[in-house]
Symmetry: C2
Subunit: 185 residues, 2 copies
DNA sequence: AGTTTTGTTCAAAAAAAATTGAACAAAATG
DNA sequence: CATTTTGTTCAATTTTTTTTGAACAAAACT
């Protein structure tokens, strides 16, 4: 590791220059812009920036990319990319692609809106809906046993939340059906 | 816990007991649970906990509440409540109610799903969609002037994003129409 | 078998977001 | 008009989330 410095004093700035980043890792301006668009997009969904960057990069890259390449193109840490890729894979937003003659895993973006939406619904929305359903059922029991003067009001409110949840579930199905249609542009 | 000798030396815990919180500020267990449900709910929407608490409290309170009351019931700071209420008001999730003989503003939760959804779409989703639209238009121009070998690929991708956005907009309208229906339970 | 390459994990650091609280302004009260 | 009440604002603090990077494990090479 520690190489004997054969030339007396070196400038720390020069020592810490980026040695990674071969010129082929340079992103085109368009690519940068698309990635920025995705970074913004995923923020609405409550996902971290790195996830937006990784998906954006894969989406706007003609060929599948290996983890190292993503690291050096985005200049973010290996850990971030590893975690981000796992997350995106779990969501079905990214898929591994075999590249002959290369030992590394390569990934491409899944670019069908329907698949993306379904993955997000399954991975992020449904779990929440389900846990809410459980708690709501407990609440119904509590409200029935309640003796306070507000008991009636509470019951009405809890019924209303149940109604919301039901309609939320219906909406997800509608979304799904809508995105499933073959689009005639 | 440490059984306190009622004589001489006082325990700091006892000294720092909450002097606010008159007994009428106590929340019922059901109310606490409903609030917890909302806190969880708003997290999916990317909103801060305090907003969930405030909306939840108003939703499960039979009467409109003033800012002070919210502060002491939730035991969070006045600043948080003030900001949270403004946010909720802007979204149309909460509305001021006149209470005669009381100088303070009072608020109730708006409890119609349609109104809530519309407010969220207008306040949080549409602004993002619009800024994305602008950026996308710039991107289209860039892609047309691009000369790189990937130009065709880039154009296809950018068209696709435009397609997503279009369908996203349609979906919002569908959601709106669906929630607008009179619900036959 | 030893070495290199590839990818994961997780504690620590950094960054981002939410909350607090005190200072302030505006309006109402006496 | 001085005082109190009510509500807002924002810098500082706290909390939460994200990112980093080094240690590790597993597989692939020689």
């Amino acid at each position: 590791m520690s190489s004997s410095p054969q030339t007396s004093i070196q400038n720390p700035e020069q020592l810490s220059q980026k040695l990674t980043n071969s010129n082929s890792d340079q992103l085109e301006i368009i690519q940068r812009e698309v990635i920025a668009l995705f970074v913004n997009g995923v923020r609405v969904l409550g996902l971290p920036k790195s996830v937006g960057e990784i998906y954006g990069l894969l989406f706007i890259s003609p060929d599948p990319l290996a983890l190292d390449v993503i690291v050096s193109k985005l200049e973010i840490s290996k850990g971030s990319v590893s975690q981000g890729l796992r997350f995106l894979r779990n969501l079905g937003a990214v898929k591994p692609v075999y590249v002959s003659g290369d030992r590394r895993d390569h990934f491409t973006a899944v670019a069908e809106l329907k698949k993306l939406a379904n993955g997000f619904i399954r991975g992020e929305l449904n779990p929440n809906l389900e846990s809410a359903t459980l708690r709501l059922d407990e609440l119904k029991v509590m409200a029935n046993n309640d003796t306070s003067p507000n008991s009636d009001f509470f019951q009405e409110r809890i019924r209303r939340i149940g109604n919301w949840r039901r309609r939320g579930g219906m909406l997800l199905k509608i979304v799904n059906r809508f995105l499933g249609r073959t689009t005639r542009v």
